[in-house]
């Protein structure tokens, strides 16, 4: 009879054990804020479907201090999501060869962040024009 008795360690609380994991959990949790924001928009959409009064009520609610505070939090969280999304991007892409050399991870992350900035400016500009 074998005397082996392999000991399996518990995974409980693993995410607290290493700063790398803590960061991972934080960036994963930004999804909560994305969801909350999407639900806010969903409510808005439903209100829009219910007519002008309902929609104006929603717009009014968006002006409440609570809503504003929430949205500042959403903004920060989702910006962090954007940052980490592009930070991880290099591991998800096949190697990109430019001029016989592999493009470095910083370049990929940088390009992603740049794309997000461009998209934001474009969107703001578009909305601004429509609003005029």
């Amino acid at each position: 009879m074998s005397k082996r008795r392999p000991y399996v360690r518990s995974m409980d609380g693993w995410w607290k054990k290493n700063p790398f994991y803590v960061e991972y959990m934080i960036h994963e949790s930004t999804a909560l804020f994305v969801a909350a924001y999407a639900f806010t928009l969903l409510v808005g959409l439903v209100r829009l479907g219910q007519g002008e009064v309902a929609w104006n009520g929603w717009l009014e609610a968006m002006k409440s201090p609570l809503s504003l505070i929430c949205h500042v939090v959403f903004l920060l969280a989702i910006m962090y999501h954007t940052y980490t999304w592009f930070k991880i991007m290099p591991i998800t892409l096949p190697p990109i060869i430019v001029g016989g050399k592999k493009v470095g991870p910083e370049v990929i992350t940088g390009s992603g962040l740049l794309a997000a900035v461009v998209a934001s400016v474009f969107m703001l500009g578009l909305v601004w024009r429509i609003a005029q």
Binding site: Y7, R9, Y24, I91, P95, K102
Partner: protein, 251 residues
């Protein structure tokens, strides 16, 4: 003060399956010099304090892949980690995380080896060639497509780093997928479709949530996270292709 009189405290997670119910920490005071690795620290303990201390090692030059352990909670090769970098603090060494502990610092690697075997880690020729025809020709581009993924030393530090493997030991995991990718990307090989079955299976790439720590701790810069994540895209393509073409991707 001469080097040899400096003493560092090494705390070791000990576990003897025949007498301990669970692992416990023990502290040893080890004299050390600047060029002494953590592995040599462990050897000092074995030679001078307790011959029963058990760990794997061989090459001492970071190439055989046997001496991985958790050093202050981080998966590292103990032969290329130096005591001087921790002194005067205490250093804690433990068996690699996410694996069952067999004894002290030795973990059960049989699951990993089975995974290596399961990925068909050999050339299944695209075009067979006889020895008289000489070597296959590979352009620098073809060579560069896979060479990075050949440098894995099977140290399994990436498994000790990957929480998804910890949570689901059936996950094929970073190093094995990196090796699978190595063969898929080799211009001599033609069996990527055969290997897809495993990539796309429940044990396959979709267990990975892109934590990325595997690549962070890899001592040979294999970037296994990249291999895993590229194959998610491949597997997804294969999945949807099944609906489009009558033959589909793989089975």
């Amino acid at each position: 003060m001469p080097d040899s009189q400096r003493i560092i405290e090494i705390e070791v997670l000990r576990y003897n399956p025949e007498s301990d119910k669970e692992p416990h920490l023990e502290v040893y005071k080890v004299p050390f010099s600047d060029d002494m690795s953590v592995l040599q620290g462990a050897q000092y303990i074995k030679d001078h304090f307790d011959g029963s201390l058990t760990f794997r090692w061989s090459c001492r030059m970071a190439i055989c892949g046997s001496c991985g352990m958790m050093i202050n909670g981080i998966p590292k090769l103990s032969c290329e980690t130096f005591l001087r970098d921790y002194f005067p603090n205490r250093i804690r060494i433990e068996a690699m995380a996410n694996f069952p502990i067999e004894k002290d610092l030795v973990v059960d690697l049989s699951g990993f080896i089975e995974k290596l075997e399961s990925i068909q880690p050999y050339i299944i020729p695209r075009e067979p060639r006889s020895l008289d025809q000489g070597e296959y020709i590979q352009s620098p581009e073809q060579f560069n497509a896979y060479i990075q993924f050949t440098s894995c030393i099977n140290c399994t530090l990436c498994y000790a780093a990957c929480p998804q493997f910890g949570l689901n030991p059936d996950f094929i995991g970073p190093a094995a997928i990196a090796l699978l990718h190595r063969y898929n990307m080799d211009s001599r090989d033609g069996a990527a479709a055969e290997r897809m079955e495993l990539v796309a299976a429940e044990e396959g790439v979709f267990n990975c949530s892109a934590v990325g720590y595997c690549s962070e701790v890899c001592p040979k810069h294999v970037d296994p996270a990249n291999a895993v994540n590229i194959n998610k895209t491949n597997a997804a393509k294969d999945y949807f292709l099944r609906f489009l073409s009558p033959k589909g991707g793989s089975k």
